[in-house]
């Protein structure tokens, strides 16, 4: 579904990604783990169009989407849940979700009741707080809102950038439970995570990134048993 071929991205003169090649198969959960600064977020941002690639290709459903604008890419069905949630803090929960469906404002005459209901069913707490401004939510609730907002565009590929960041273990469990449910509904997921254990337990396939390169890849179950992964990332 998604192929990234020899992708290189720079910040000024500093190379953040070096010839990254990865795949995300349709209907699978693929995870990218690695230490801080390994380039995981940059990879997702480059796929979503927020950062520009200098070399390489991003192929989605056999279309070249390399360096398209983010607002074009989301229209193609790729939605990124950015690192640190990035909810619109002055707006209500409801408005955040409505903006999530921004790309669909001309289809179905802008009717997004069905998607709203789906998100509220998935995260009942958002339904309780729909009139509250997003800035007043707890970290976990903001993460749920960020995921819900990304789902409102009806993506076929969901990119998640460190959904566990700064959250309590219980909240992390519930977020990952939701990801599993979405996976069962057929959504393809590409997950970047620092918490290697939960990521590999959830995913089908995994990549380990180190200083802008793919250091290791394999079935998630195998990576969990891999000595180097165990020593460095699972501690």
């Amino acid at each position: 579904m998604l192929r990234v071929e020899k992708l290189s991205t720079f910040y000024g003169n500093i190379q953040a990604l070096r010839d990254i090649t990865i795949r995300a198969r349709r209907g699978s959960i693929t995870t990218i783990i690695g230490a801080n600064g390994a380039g995981k977020s940059t990879l997702l941002r480059t796929i979503a169009g927020l950062n520009k690639a200098r070399h390489g290709l991003v192929i989605y459903d056999d279309h070249d989407i390399t360096n398209l604008k983010p607002n074009k890419i989301v229209r193609d069905g790729i939605s990124l849940v950015p690192q640190g949630r990035q909810v619109f803090s002055d707006m209500t929960v409801m408005e955040n979700l409505q903006l999530g469906a921004y790309v669909r404002r001309f289809s179905d005459r802008g009717d997004n009741a069905q998607e709203l209901e789906m998100v509220y069913e998935m995260f009942p707490v958002l339904s309780e707080r729909k009139k509250q401004t997003a800035g007043t939510l707890s970290g976990g609730e903001q993460q749920m809102l960020a995921v819900g907002r990304a789902l409102m565009s009806r993506p076929r590929l969901l990119l998640l950038d460190e959904p566990s960041m700064g959250l309590a273990p219980k909240v992390i469990q519930s977020i990952f439970k939701t990801l599993n449910a979405l996976h069962e509904q057929g959504l393809t997921i590409l997950l970047v995570e620092q918490d290697a254990k939960i990521a590999l337990e959830t995913a089908d396939y995994g990549y380990v990134m180190k200083t802008g390169k793919v250091a290791l890849e394999g079935q998630a179950g195998e990576l969990l048993e891999n000595d180097e992964v165990k020593r460095i990332y699972l501690g």
Binding site: L50, N71, Q86, F88, Q98, R149, S153
Partner: protein, 321 residues
């Protein structure tokens, strides 16, 4: 809730109280003459408010300060002259056409001069807007000449009496139009998805682009709205003040002062700032030689920038590490 909110309200009441003291003092001391100054102040203040709103709309959507904002107001007045005084069109039709044409011009300027700079720094774009202002002014001088021009009032010139002061009917049009413009702009940003998307882009450009908001569309829409509001202000004030090719610079600076006073980016702030500025200016003109009235705006601008750079209703700029 932001921490500043209670402070902000206190400050707003403080500023309003200060202006109220000045107003009451003027009324007691000067009676109906004072009232006359205040009514004139509210009229000109409404125009400052509309110009300030133009600044705010573009600033809050793109972080650009458009120094050509006053030129849209100048164009509004001149266009009314061409269409109605010269062209003989009915005033209502002239007004609608004026707003329509200047809106298209605003959109055209955005596409021609601002859009190509989308990867440049905000400062570069601001400097280009100064160039744009000079260009528009030169063009206006070439088309209309240097003589101020007169436009007929919408509904006659017979002043209405009001507690011993008089008010021209055109002033009521100015108030009405300001109210309508504020309501429309507010509704656009708070009730429509496009407007909410533009607010989202101002708040968090990355996240907004991820849900599909296009920065390019935001900028185009913001410039169109700013041009429309500016042109409407110019068209409705033209019968009271003479319109002239070089009126834009001063209007722009006054509107900018009003926007800074109210807090750049805040629509209610623009209105509060504009009205305060207009009233203080006219009261100053009454008590002191009228040449000093222009100094009021700049004195306020300097004081605000020194004491409270985010303005009365603005929120402090985020400190990003």
């Amino acid at each position: 809730m932001r921490m500043g909110d209670r402070n902000q309200v206190r400050l707003l009441w403080g500023a309003a109280a200060l202006v109220a003291v000045v107003v009451v003092f003027t009324l007691i001391y000067k009676g109906s003459t004072g009232l006359q100054w205040i009514l004139s102040g509210l009229t000109v203040g409404s125009i400052y408010a509309l110009v300030a709103m133009g600044f705010s709309v573009i600033y809050s959507s793109t972080r650009v300060i458009n120094f050509a904002q006053g030129e849209f107001t100048m164009l509004g007045g001149m266009m009314m002259f061409t269409l109605c005084t010269r062209g003989g069109l009915p005033l209502w039709l002239g007004f609608l056409l004026t707003v329509g044409i200047v809106t298209l011009l605003g959109a055209g300027f955005e596409r021609a001069a601002i859009h190509p700079l989308k990867d440049q720094s905000v400062i570069t774009v601001i400097i280009v807007t100064i160039g744009l202002a000079i260009f528009i002014r030169a063009l206006a001088k070439w088309i209309w000449g240097t003589d101020p021009v007169k436009v007929a009032s919408f509904t006659g010139d017979k002043p209405l009496r009001f507690f011993g002061a008089s008010i021209v009917p055109q002033s009521l049009w100015v108030f009405g139009l300001t109210l309508i413009a504020v309501v429309l702009v507010f509704a656009f940003f708070n009730r429509t998805l496009l407007g909410k998307g533009m607010r989202a882009a101002a708040d968090n450009p990355d996240a907004a682009s991820l849900v599909g908001v296009s920065a390019s569309t935001s900028s185009l829409v913001a410039w169109s709205i700013a041009a429309a509001v500016g042109a409407a202000a110019g068209a409705v004030i033209a019968p009271i003040n003479f319109a002239a090719y070089d009126a834009g610079a001063m209007l722009g600076l006054k509107g900018f002062s009003a926007a800074v006073l109210g807090g750049l980016g805040s629509a209610p702030g623009a209105v509060v700032g504009g009205l305060m500025l207009g009233v203080l200016e006219m009261i100053t003109a009454g008590f002191a030689p009228s040449g000093y009235k222009d100094a009021v705006a700049f004195l306020i601008l300097i004081l605000v920038l020194l004491i409270r750079p985010q303005g009365l209703l603005g929120k402090p700029a985020d400190v990003k590490v």
